[in-house]
Symmetry: C2
DNA sequence: GGGAATCAGTTGCAGATTGCAACTGAGAAT
DNA sequence: ATTCTCAGTTGCAATCTGCAACTGATTCCC
């Protein structure tokens, strides 16, 4: 699964990882999102639970809103309060968060983290995030290969 | 899929996302890893293809090695050269990279990125990274719920 | 109605991090 | 012997981060 060097520069411009990191790649962004996924909505909640500096939090929330990952909704019943909610774009980051979490669980903390995401119907934990083929079968690394898009069939 | 506030502080200590970000959460780390996944191995390759400052690259590579994500292997045939290779721990980050890439592709760049990861046998692209149940069935957000670990069955 | 508390920030400032450009030093190529 | 390549390091300016204190608009409580 290796490429030659010539294609790399072109690749950087095309690759969406760089683009994604512009939105969510800053120091606290992932932890803010993790909080949001677990239901945090308000400035003071994020601040006190994450222990992040207030100016940084203010800045990161603004940037996440700017990038359409969170939306800022003033609370009509209390005009001081503002709710930050995940947009659909933000909710779609769940696989990223879960992959990262499972990796950390496996290789660093060892300790299984809490809470656990389960299938609401069966109450069984979700499967580990893994690379799968179009039919949902898990693929090992040996079964994978990088292919230039132009070489794809129809 | 929401939690009460009291458990959040405890959660931060337990959650492995924070731990994972200690290893790979810095500005350039993901892009370095992306390069490594596509076969980059040498300092000058990373530097020229990513356009990263040399001192920062030096520092990031050292930290990734320190964290066991890359391993540093002096080349026996040319004693100037050093190869940086993904360890098993590093290779296990593939789901994170792919999730992030697919997200960027869907929500930001729109343009499908290159190269494509395919099943070597069938030459068909891998499936999108998604949350699945233990049997491999894709789960929608409505089917998901956060559960305290203590409430899990057996 | 008046004072205290809460919420979502902003400001000032010190220290850490990043980025650029130039330099180094070992080894390889000619 | 000289030049070139590789993997860094160094010095310095600019940016970013983090802490603590402050603001300004509500809302709560009596």
């Amino acid at each position: 699964m290796v490429l030659d060097l010539e294609r790399h520069r072109e690749m950087l411009r095309q690759c969406s990882i760089a683009a994604a990191l512009e939105s969510v790649g800053e120091r606290w962004s992932f932890l803010i999102l993790r909080g949001a996924f677990n239901g945090l909505q308000h400035f003071e909640e994020f601040q006190s639970t994450l222990g992040i500096a207030r100016n940084i939090l203010s800045n990161r929330l603004a940037r996440l809103v700017e990038n359409g990952v969170l939306q800022r909704e003033p609370d009509p019943t209390d005009r001081r309060r503002v709710a930050y909610r995940l947009t659909d774009k933000g909710l779609d980051l769940l696989p990223v968060l879960l992959s990262l979490r499972q990796w950390g669980e496996k290789w660093i903390s060892a300790m299984p983290s809490n809470p656990v995401l389960v299938d609401r119907a069966t109450r069984r934990p979700i499967a580990p995030m893994a690379v799968r083929d179009a039919d949902g079968r898990m693929l090992t690394r040996a079964e994978l290969e990088w292919l230039d898009r132009s070489e794809l069939d129809g």
